[in-house]
């Protein structure tokens, strides 16, 4: 999606922020990256091509990406925030295997609608949500059954 770059640049301009070499590098690395990664992981990936880039800047830029809706921060693991690419059209939630850590993505229109409904019933204006199902993935379930 070539259009993510425009969103990012637009966000910067709108806020009077500057388009720096580092921000571009981080943006690119993030866009090309695999689905779920931590700030640290993105940082290590970046260092290969861009030595001298700072971890602080990675954190800061990731925050910017979240602000403009290109990234989403998740708590999949207990002691680390992971980031993933986000766009209004591919929203999903996660299942995580407590045995092997495998992450499965899912989307349920029905659940999303019910969330909306239950929030409003409480006078709440829902803006976002996090939903995580913990359990055993297919593989690990089979392995357990065999034993």
């Amino acid at each position: 999606m070539e259009n993510a770059a425009r969103i990012f640049e637009g966000h910067l301009k709108l806020r009077g922020l500057k388009s720096t070499r580092q921000r571009q590098a981080i943006f690119n690395a993030f866009i090309e990256s695999s689905v779920h990664l931590s700030a640290e992981e993105l940082y290590r990936k970046l260092r290969k091509k861009n030595p001298g880039i700072g971890l602080s800047t990675v954190y800061r830029t990731l925050k910017l990406l979240c602000d403009c809706g290109l990234a989403r921060a998740l708590q999949l693991d207990d002691n680390m925030v992971t980031f993933e690419k986000e766009s209004k059209r591919d929203h999903h939630d996660h299942m995580v295997c407590r045995e092997c850590g495998r992450i499965e993505e899912f989307y349920s229109k029905a659940i999303e609608d019910l969330q909306e409904r239950v929030a409003k019933k409480h006078g709440f204006i829902p803006e976002d949500h996090r939903m995580k199902i913990i359990g055993l993935c297919k593989e690990c379930a089979r392995r357990k059954a065999e034993k």
Copy 2:
């Protein structure tokens, strides 16, 4: 529920763990406590009556309480785990106001059922879940509207 104590004691006995003065104090403070609190908060509450109790022990005991299903660890805030009393019969999820931090509890049988269903569709065996809706509580929504 006088029966929580029996569950806790039973859990200890079953695992060959010992029933200590500290564990009893922490158990009691937790049971009498307000709905959502952090280890640190429980620790401070305890120190009033039980000076000399250790924060480590609070963490350790809270883990035991989770193990036997009397407590549940939540990520309501971004940088702190909060604990709440849990029992099979009053399971619920949470809405949290991004403005004032207010926490609203809710339960939807329909959502729970759909979670079960979607997990199985992915070959997943669901064991637990965390669901959090972020938004504006009634109060804060009104305040925003007036302004």
